[in-house]
């Protein structure tokens, strides 16, 4: 076939697009990282894969779209991008609403699907099954509400180039890359959110509570820590991060369907494991690395192998360093 000639030099392909792939990998990785925070927090405290976390993210995406719709900004109404002040206001409202809805959903899942099992001290596999149940139920609920059709996001930010980096200036044969305001915003927001969570965990009394339960829940209970409240708080924090990720995702991708959660959740979980599950810094690092690996892999092997690259990286990492890059355990690593 004719296109084979154009495909011949995979490595040249990757090298040529390296700058572009790197930037998009970091952007994508930031979103993985934010979702991964939720997995990592819950795992750190309960040693539990919150399989339904992907749907916590999903409701956030729809929540922000609905609230923007109420404020008069829907997709495809041809209004163009609103003024700067309005955009900031809309984004703020969107982030707050998405974070609250996601956080609320996370807490609800904890109450309905996990807490009764914790009372019975059920094995972790059972939690996994109720989590799957919750995940299916929420995704399908959204599917029924939206008629299983893609829902568009209003154009709040039109990506404009902020910087151009041209590696050819320093003699590298790499195509120049334009970095847009949106990409900068996404990466910055992710790092900020991570920083806020990290500070919360390390500098506040609530954070101390979470860390103490993560280290040894029985001892923490003996010392007067209200375990249920700490666990709820953990779910809430993970939900808030997922809500922020949801808005960033909306701005970046521009459409949402009811079934996006599963794969994205899987990737984010992969990112969490990659960095060392139960470890906030690990989630950030893992997210960014996974984004990069995927995009570079797609550049080299072709986009159809993008997901395969992600999982191969995961398997290789776990084989040689089973606790992830930065080690696991929220309690120990941060103590």
């Amino acid at each position: 076939m004719t296109y084979l000639a154009a495909q011949a030099d995979s490595f040249g392909d990757l090298w040529h697009n390296l700058a572009d792939l790197t930037v998009s990998g970091l952007t994508q990785g930031s979103i993985y990282a934010l979702i991964a925070l939720g997995y990592t927090l819950v795992y750190g405290v309960l040693q539990l894969i919150n399989f339904a976390h992907s749907e916590v993210f999903l409701v956030g995406t729809f929540g922000s779209i609905v609230v923007w719709g109420w404020l008069g900004y829907a997709s495809g109404d041809g209004g163009g991008v609103p003024g700067l002040g309005m955009v900031i206001l809309l984004l703020a409202v969107g982030v707050i609403v998405a974070a609250l809805i996601s956080g609320g959903t996370a807490v609800l899942i904890e109450r309905v699907a996990y807490r009764p099992l914790r009372r019975k001290n059920a094995p972790r596999l059972i939690f996994l099954i109720t989590a799957i149940g919750a995940s299916v139920a929420i995704a399908e609920f959204v599917g029924v509400l939206t008629d299983r059709k893609p829902v568009g996001v209003p154009a709040l930010v039109s990506p404009t180039t902020q910087w151009q980096i041209d590696p050819r200036d320093i003699g590298l044969d790499i195509q120049p890359v334009n970095i847009t305001n949106l990409q900068i915003g996404i990466v910055l927001s992710a790092v900020l959110m991570w920083f806020a969570l990290d500070s919360f965990l390390n500098r506040t009394k609530f954070g101390l509570g979470i860390r103490s339960v993560a280290q040894n829940e029985d001892t923490a209970a003996l010392m007067g820590v209200n375990k249920d409240r700490v666990i709820m708080l953990t779910f809430l924090l993970g939900g808030l991060a997922a809500g922020v990720a949801a808005v960033l995702y909306n701005l970046k991708i521009g459409t949402v369907t009811f079934n996006i959660g599963f794969l994205l959740g899987l990737k984010a979980f992969t990112a969490a494991v990659l960095g060392g599950i139960g470890n906030l810094r690990g989630a950030l690092l893992g997210g960014l690395l996974l984004g990069l690996a995927e995009n570079w892999g797609a550049g080299f092997f072709g986009s159809e192998w993008m997901n395969a690259v992600a999982f191969v990286v995961l398997i290789v990492i776990l084989m040689f360093r089973p606790t992830g890059l930065l080690g696991d355990s929220l309690g120990r690593a941060r103590a």
Binding site: I129, T130, I132, V136, D218, N226, D228, W305, L314
Partner: protein, 381 residues
């Protein structure tokens, strides 16, 4: 927030719990009485039960519309039965890995896919090799290949424990699916048609006519009985006891001289082989496979099915699989809310009965112990 434990009057929840406890007692009472029966009675009852299963595609009871072809917008009952029988076989294989050896394998569907594709590639005239081997030749190849892939996956990953193993196997399942989608050998979503019936080339008049799936069901049933027999023997042998020990406490087991890695690898290989066998059945029954049939969600559903039914217990696992895969076919009138109802039902059942609907006795006892521990923890905390 108020204190976590309050003394409450008999609420709905506590009533349901009490009723549930009563039912559980009735079940175990039934079980005791069953094992008290003379052996000849038990054998007779089992034979009658199996006969009923074999007759199922031809049975209809007026007034109880359990057949999926009696309802509006329904589907062929023998087809549903054959699907369920194949899935039960998958679940029995997965139960070896999850229920007996305690290894959480979320990518089990990968083995099922390897088995199905092996039969398709070697059996179909439309595949890349077009060897057109008969089904009976393809099946051993499929089983051998899946065992090998089980060992290949197990060798590097079985050093991992718990959730890490789960996520690695999930990744493996996804990689197999992506290969099915993208590779030229499997022909992606276009798939491989004209997969031979199990008796093709052996007899003049086939027992597997187009559009009639009863023979496929019966064949699957026979294989289930054979496999169940074999697995039960295994369970009560040295291998089975090693699995049990590893499941309970791997470190203690190793200390007592159980070669944990070796037996875990065996569990993987045996589970994989059963998965491959069911894949082979599936490919032949459907006559056409493509990459759509092997998504990860199905893998997760199998784990859900065996936990729902009661892991470790073959009958419980069967019950779980039947429920997970029969009910959505039967309740087609719920239309696009079927899955939603399924998700909610999964939560409710697992919260009320974490041990599953029909657990193995040992598992039920383990859970009771854990529950007591939890109570003590609350009292002492």
């Amino acid at each position: 927030m108020s204190a976590p434990e309050k003394v409450r009057p008999a609420t709905f929840v506590s009533k349901v719990k009490a009723a549930d406890a009563k039912r559980a007692a009735a079940v175990s009472g039934f079980r005791d009485r069953w094992s008290d029966l003379p052996k000849i009675w038990r054998i007779l009852a089992a034979v009658a039960g199996i006969a009923l299963l074999f007759g199922l595609p031809n049975i209809a009871i007026p007034g109880i519309p359990f057949r999926t072809d009696e309802i509006p917008n329904g589907t062929s009952f023998s087809f549903v039965l054959s699907s369920i029988a194949i899935y039960v076989l998958v679940a029995i294989g997965l139960n070896v890995v999850v229920g007996m050896a305690g290894l959480l394998d979320l990518g089990y569907i990968g083995f099922y896919a390897v088995g199905a594709y092996t039969v398709a590639i070697f059996g179909s005239p439309n595949s890349i090799v077009a060897t057109e081997y008969p089904w009976l030749v393809c099946v051993p190849i499929a089983i051998a290949l899946t065992m090998v892939s089980g060992v290949i996956l197990g060798m590097p990953t079985l050093r991992l424990r718990g959730d890490y193993l789960a996520i690695v196997t999930l990744g493996f399942g996804e990689i197999i699916r992506l290969i099915a989608v993208n590779s030229a050998v499997t022909n992606g979503q276009r798939g491989i048609p004209v997969i031979p019936a199990p008796d093709k080339g052996l007899v003049e008049e086939t027992f597997f006519p187009v559009g009639d799936f009863r023979s496929h069901y019966w064949l699957a049933l026979v294989l289930i009985i054979i496999v169940v027999f074999a697995v039960r023997r295994l369970e009560h042998s040295r291998v089975g006891r090693s699995w049990l020990a590893i499941r309970e406490d791997e470190d203690a087991a190793s200390l007592m001289g159980v070669e944990a890695f070796k037996f875990k690898l065996w569990a993987f290989a045996i589970g994989a082989a059963i998965g491959g066998l069911s894949g082979a059945l599936f490919a032949s029954r459907t006559g056409f496979i493509n990459s759509d049939g092997f998504n990860l969600l199905l893998s997760v559903m199998f784990v859900a099915a065996i936990v729902l039914g009661g892991q470790g217990n073959i009958l419980g696992v069967t019950l779980g699989t039947v429920l997970v895969f029969y009910l959505p076919e039967r309740f087609r009138f719920l239309e696009d809310k079927r899955e939603l109802v399924f998700g909610v039902a999964l939560i409710v059942i697992m919260v009320l009965r974490p041990q599953g609907l029909w657990p193995s006795r040992r598992r039920a006892r383990e859970l009771k112990d854990r529950k007591l521990e939890a109570k003590e923890a609350i009292v002492s905390g």
